[in-house]
Amino acid sequence: MKISRRDSGRMEALIGSILAVGVVGSVLFLAAGLFWQRRATGAIHLNHALRGTNLFGFWSGCAQAVAGGRWSPELLVNLGIGVLLLTPYVRVAASAVYFAFFERNAKYAGFTAFVLGVLTYSLFLR
């Protein structure tokens, strides 16, 4: 199935926006964490370890801390890393949805679904 320049333009705008928002969001969280650390301790030494976990475990830890109001410089830095890691994942998920439901291109919906499936598997690795 051929796609029109207008459809392709919409897809490009969607993907470009997801990537830009992801990178800017990540940097803002990291900068906020570092700024807070500097204000609190007078130095920007972050010394917190991250034990082996998968991305969903990592996000679940962040979500619990946010829900419990346990805000800290370390949490903001973790959120920055988490947002960055989710950016390509969200981009692939959005592409799969776009190909499947807007363009109705079964071939590319299948390809992106395959990539999304493998990424999802990899993000559950322990």
Partner: protein, 276 residues
């Protein structure tokens, strides 16, 4: 490990700057630099893999909007690179660091040889796309000052198989492996240089995520280090791109050839001496 934020930030800025000047991610410079600062090579590879997501996503966002990236070529080839990256990262986790130094040095020298051999090459469009590439709808066009330039990719099957190898190298060594990906796009699939580079950028983010997930699961991603490296490499890459547009292609290529050769030899020497 406690980190001197300023030092790691500055080193990452330089890595991002040099990487952008060469039209590659910063990982190829960042990893040797981090190991000089006594970061273990596996931790350096893991942190580089995460920072590669930042640099590739940042530049891909602009290239996609400018219609330079071929999304279908990218989405087809991603199927192969993510499988390669997962396999490569698994090997690194189990590998002896000495072999990683040697392999990293060899990949740097191979990239050097490739760039050197192709320093005066000119792109020619593929004459006859094969059936698979036609079925995959791998044609496109991109804007130039003189008007839109049309192209059609070919040999998609070979491109996919070789991209598994590029993903393997990326996952194994924590780099984007942009040089290899661009080479496959150019020489095997017949894509124009601008489309090759920008499409490679899009693929790198997803490939890096697959590799980074393995390193995250092994506890090799150090958040303190990431907090210094990610903003640093982004700032360096941003300024490198600005300087790049003002420089002649020949000077940029010469500069990068010297950097690749020095780093490649240095990593091999450290591998032979048994650095860990």
């Amino acid at each position: 490990m406690g980190h001197s934020f300023g030092l790691f930030f500055a080193v990452s800025c330089v890595a991002g700057f040099v990487g952008a000047m060469a039209g590659m991610g910063g990982g190829i410079v960042l990893i040797p630099a981090l190991t000089w600062l006594h970061v273990g090579i596996k931790q350096a590879i893991a942190i580089s893999m995460v920072s590669v997501i930042a640099t590739s996503s940042g530049s891909a966002a602009a290239y996609v909007r400018d219609r330079l990236t071929n999304l279908k070529v990218g989405m087809f080839l991603e199927m192969f690179t993510i499988l390669g990256a997962l396999a490569g990262a698994r090997v690194t986790v189990a590998a002896n660091p000495r072999w990683l130094f040697l392999l990293f040095g060899l990949v740097l020298l191979a990239s050097w040889a490739t760039l050197f051999a192709r320093r005066d090459e000119i792109w020619r469009p593929a004459a006859h796309p094969d059936n698979l590439s036609r079925w995959l709808e791998l044609e496109g066009s991109y804007p130039e000052k003189s008007g839109d330039v049309s192209y059609q990719a070919t040999r998609a099957g070979w491109g996919g198989a070789l991209m598994f190898g590029a993903g393997l190298v990326a996952g194994l060594l924590g780099i984007g492996a942009g040089a290899l990906k661009v080479l496959i796009h150019d020489l095997v699939m017949g894509l124009p240089p601008k489309v090759s580079t920008t499409t490679s950028n899009l693929i790198i983010g997803v490939t890096a995520l697959a590799g980074a997930s393995v390193y995250l699961s092994q506890g090799l991603v150090d958040p303190g280090l990431a907090a210094a490296v990610i903003p640093g490499i982004l700032a360096g890459a941003f300024s490198g791109t600005r300087v790049l547009v003002r420089l002649a292609n020949r000077s940029v290529r010469r500069f990068f050839l010297v950097v690749l050769a020095v780093l490649g030899v240095e990593m091999i020497v450290r591998g032979l001496r048994g650095a860990g």
